[in-house]
Amino acid sequence: MANRTIGVASLLGMLTALWAVFVYAPTEATMGIVQRIFYFHVSAALMGFFAFFVVFVSSIAFLLKRDLAWDRIARCSAEIGVLFASINLATGILWAKPIWGIWWTWDARLTLQLLLWILFVSYIMLGAYIAEPMKRAALQAVFGILAFIDVPINFMAIRWWRTQHPSPVILGGEGSGLDIDMYIALIITMAAFMLLYTYLLGHRLAVERTQEEVEYFEQLVHSQ
């Protein structure tokens, strides 16, 4: 029931976000209409990071508490994180072609995001190849922690390596900054994405619990 409320809220949030992005926000001066992809692009990236942070925290909680509920949250959040990271990469590719003239470049932030995507797809694959639940949970938790710690080190390495992506518009240095209306549209989109994440996570957890119940009954039937 609670999840249905969140579902309705995220639907309303998404509609508001669409209105904010396409009607409310002003058109950017140099890039024109294409720039409107920015709101989804940035929101998806931030939600991806948030989801992976949830994986990190839940993995630590699992190792300390030995409660499979934490493992479930970690795994489900990783899947949704990969989804948001994929949206971020896809919108980035679509945005880069008209503005930079290329689909992809091995610039710092693009490379990092792709790497993050690969790390957490590996995380999901790892889970698929281990049968015993407690063992799988522990090994995935360890990899989830290692993968998250790897992110800041990767960030430094790749940033020194090269950079083409525009410097952060938000909280950036001099010459950065967003129009106030653009800011509001971004915040609305981010809030809608946050609701969507919560909704998806709730659903995914429910599916996971049902699956575990089915497996339990299957074992019961087979053991008779």
């Binding site: 790390l119 090994l139 360890v142 290692l146 710690i149």
Partner: protein, 221 residues
């Protein structure tokens, strides 16, 4: 210190009998070098541009080959069970395994790196010592991460596929830093060499400590 030495000697004794790990790393590293030479046919100045990348691809893949069997062999023979019963901490088990993996990789590199220099006609002069330092520090980080990941992948189906999937993305910052530092050595301009070396050292230390702390969760029954 005694139990740690015993753990390392055990791995050395096993390797002396089988001679699988070191030999396969050497041959694989050599193969990668040869394939790259056919693929790019580098000559003259190009060689200095491509060589750092080639070297680290060869070392990375050779390392993964060696690490693949590192914990699987203990698991298959129930040797791990015995080690867990022995009065040593889980942390020592990890450190011992890192030490022996590091050692085996260095022995393989003792063959791969000189052959790589000969085949590519690299002129290093006095910078050879710096190259050795990069290779040693890079290999150490690779072994520190690889040991815990090989313990993880040993528990999965499709072990041989799983390890590179986990290992390569996780060690990427170290590989980037090692490639960048190696190119600086081969080039004229040495600026930024120190910060790349710091990155490699930082990577080694962080992953050694974190892996040491979480290793017990990987091997427990």
């Amino acid at each position: 210190m005694r139990p740690l030495a015993a753990l390392i000697l055990k791995d050395i004794a096993v390797e002396m009998r089988r001679r699988e790990s070191v030999i396969s790393m050497m041959m694989f590293g050599l193969l990668v070098t040869v394939i790259f030479s056919f693929a790019f046919e580098p000559s003259g100045a190009e060689r200095d541009l491509i060589a750092p990348g080639m070297l680290w691809v060869a070392l990375t893949f050779a390392g993964v080959i060696g690490l693949n069997r590192s914990l699987a062999i203990d698991l298959d023979n129930d040797c791990l069970q015995g080690l867990l019963l022995a009065p040593v901490s889980r942390g020592s088990l990890y450190v011992g395994k890192v030490a022996s993996n590091f050692l085996f990789m260095l022995i393989a590199e003792l063959v791969i790196v000189p052959l790589f220099i000969i085949f590519n006609d690299l002129r290093l002069g006095g910078d050879l010592l710096w190259l050795i330092l990069i290779v040693v520090l890079g290999t150490f980080g690779f072994a520190a991460v690889g040991t815990i990941l090989s313990a993880i992948s040993a528990n999965t189906r499709m072990r041989e596929v799983m390890l590179p999937m986990l290992q390569i993305p996780l060690t990427l910052p170290m590989i980037i830093a090692a490639v960048a530092a190696t190119s600086l050595i081969l080039g004229e301009d040495k600026e930024g060499f120190g910060s790349w070396m710091n990155l490699i050292i930082g990577f080694d230390i962080i992953f050694l400590i974190v892996s040491y702390l979480v290793f017990e969760y990987v091997v427990e029954e």
